[in-house]
């Protein structure tokens, strides 16, 4: 029992998510030896990859010989629990994933998919990275980002509020504010 508790305490999971998209270049980049070794060096024990509609399937591993334990799956109706139990999140640049992770106050690396046309998603990732709420990378720069990242430099994201919009709507339409 004490051993199991110790396992839980020492378990540090990196959760990778691509949402409902196909983002093979991210999954491949995470699945490289150098990224996995770097994550292991930084004290992470498990790597869990949600692959979405991707066709590249990473090899699972039980983590013997001093390496990450790797597991993967395609979809889940809700990734909230996976996010909650993660120590580090690596996500595609979808706003839903980003804000769900930030609201849970988890360290986050957002990887922008350059194969997407009209990549407005990168604007959001870059802006939040500039404000130091997360790290922003491309699949090719993922290793460097993981190696250089200083989690202590991240600033927690304060959740937004829709009340200002409601106030403006009420005053425009002549409804009382409560």
């Amino acid at each position: 029992m004490a051993e199991a508790d110790e396992d839980l305490k020492s378990r540090r999971t990196v959760f990778v998510t691509v949402g409902t998209t196909c983002f093979d270049s991210l999954v491949r980049a995470v699945d490289t030896q150098e990224v996995k070794e770097e994550l292991f060096k930084k004290g992470y024990t498990h790597l869990l990859i949600q692959m979405g509609r991707g066709s590249y399937i990473p090899a699972k591993s039980t983590g013997e010989n001093g390496s990450l334990e790797v597991d993967c799956f395609t979809f889940s109706s809700s990734i909230t629990d996976y996010l909650r139990s993660a120590s580090l999140v690596i996500s595609h640049a979808g706003s839903g994933s980003i804000f769900e992770t930030l609201r849970l106050q988890k360290p986050l690396i957002v990887v922008v998919n350059e194969d997407l046309m009209d990549n407005h998603q990168s604007e959001l990732a870059e802006e939040l990275a500039e404000r130091k709420h997360l790290f922003c990378a491309r699949p090719q720069t993922l290793y460097q980002t993981v190696a250089d990242m200083d989690l202590g430099s991240l600033i927690p994201y304060q959740p937004g509020d829709a009340a200002p919009v409601a106030k403006l709507l009420n005053s425009f339409l002549g409804f009382p504010d409560d």
Partner: protein, 234 residues
């Protein structure tokens, strides 16, 4: 000499038609300018307190999450009855809206039971669809939007993103011009738009079809002066 006088004074049927057309177009232009001007004015104080029927246009994923955030802080009894429209290929959004409405009912925050309606609309264009077939599907989407708008004739339209809202807003604008129904059109640009407006927002902004357009990042406010900066919703 007589001939030239006759030429100057003659009013042929074709020139009459031309004059009427020009006159008609001018009247419509004046009407459109008047509508645009009135759209920037708040609702008059005399008709306060009465609830306004509200059309909520839902889009996939992040769009719906943001809209739910907004709906949660609205006074439900001011914006009622509520009509939710989502694209026919979007399975999750209407479900999420139904869950939301049920949660309000059980909280006791709404007075009318089961008054919310949920509808689907044909999409103008699927991602990756060829532009040639898009003409046909856009026309079908427009016809469907017209049918839905005639049925609903909402007083307020809330939208925050996907192209689904454009046919609906365009028809609402035409209804305004024709005096069929005055809809207040509110558009909240997605939180994912930091430096550039989406195509939907750009159309509504440039053509001045939205009564109020809200943006979540200051960069957009400096670029588009008539937009209202409201900070982040998420």
């Amino acid at each position: 000499m007589e001939n030239s006088n006759n030429h100057c004074l003659s009013i042929t049927p074709s020139s009459l038609v031309l004059l009427s057309i020009i006159g008609f177009i001018t009247l419509i232009l004046i009407r459109v300018l008047y509508i645009i001007h009135r759209s920037s004015q708040p609702r008059s104080a005399s008709s306060q307190q009465k609830p306004l029927s509200t059309l909520i246009v839902l889009g996939s994923g992040g769009h719906t999450a943001e809209m739910i955030n907004l709906l949660n802080v609205l006074q439900k009894n001011s914006f009622t009855p509520r009509y939710y429209i989502a694209a026919a290929t979007d399975n999750m959004s209407l479900q999420k809206a139904q869950v939301l409405e049920s949660s309000w009912l059980s909280e006791g925050g709404v007075e009318e039971v089961g008054s919310a309606k949920f509808m689907q609309i044909y999409r103008s264009r699927e991602v990756g669809q060829s532009y040639i077939t898009s003409v046909g599907t856009t026309l079908i989407a427009l016809a469907h939007a017209l049918w839905l708008m005639i049925k609903i004739r909402p007083h307020v339209i809330l939208c925050n993103g996907p192209g689904t809202c454009i046919p609906l807003c365009a028809i609402a604008f035409i209804f305004k011009i024709l005096g069929i129904r005055w809809s207040y059109i509110f558009y909240v640009e997605s939180i994912a738009r930091v430096r550039r407006l989406s195509l939907s927002a750009l159309l509504l902004y440039k053509l001045r079809m939205a009564d109020q357009l809200f943006v979540q990042w200051p960069q957009l406010k400096s670029k588009y002066h008539r937009a209202h900066y409201v900070g982040r919703l998420m």
